[in-house]
Amino acid sequence: QKEVEQDPGPLSVPEGAIVSLNCTYSNSAFQYFMWYRQYSRKGPELLMYTYSSGNKEDGRFTAQVDKSSKYISLFIRDSQPSDSATYLCAMSVRGGIIQGAQKLVFGQGTRLTINP
């Protein structure tokens, strides 16, 4: 079983739709839960992060974490064509010989297309 599971899609929705992206995980030691956005042929960029269970909102984006179910979600409201990208969930864990280093474990990524 992979530590982080994410439906790879692809997901195609009309402009203005609400998009729901999800990941499940198995490692209870994960501390931070993040969503990265990656445009084609670019490096990932951090979209949102959260530490605790609950919701966190930033504009049209809402990140949701349920630690008891080991499940995280990203909701995009009023989706725009510019939101078309691959969305990667990532979770961090400390460990290894380097104190303080956060190691990220990524999901597979969901390719999202918003159609005008």
Partner: protein
């Protein structure tokens, strides 16, 4: 600030050859990371480092080596390249909190 820069952008390597992927950051970040991303997959950690001289293995370190002699640079060395190392390589840096800043990537093909 240029952020995280990587060179080369693209490279084709023959099986058995060696090469070094370069990564430089100008944000004075202590922590630096190397990831690989295979088609349709997430990123997997190869090596990471804090400051000059301290490195540790990630999830997929076999076939790679790293060194860190300065805060700014974190080169990734491929020895005896194999087709399984065909991938997109991303370097990232951070102050140590949750947000990692990624470079634009190096697309490597081994044939």
């Amino acid at each position: 600030n240029a952020g995280v820069t990587q060179t080369p952008k693209f490279h084709i390597l023959k099986i058995g050859q060696s090469m070094t992927l370069q990564c430089t950051q100008d944000m004075n970040h202590n922590y630096m990371y190397w990831y690989r991303q295979d088609p349709g997959m997430g990123l997997k950690l190869i090596y990471y480092s804090v400051g000059a001289g301290i490195t540790d293995k990630g999830e997929v370190p076999n076939g790679y080596n790293v060194s860190r002699s300065t805060t700014e640079d974190f080169p990734l060395r491929l020895e005896l390249a194999a087709p399984s190392q065909t991938s997109v390589y991303f370097c990232a840096s951070t102050t140590g909190d949750h947000e990692q800043y990624f470079g634009p990537g190096t697309r490597l093909t081994v044939t």
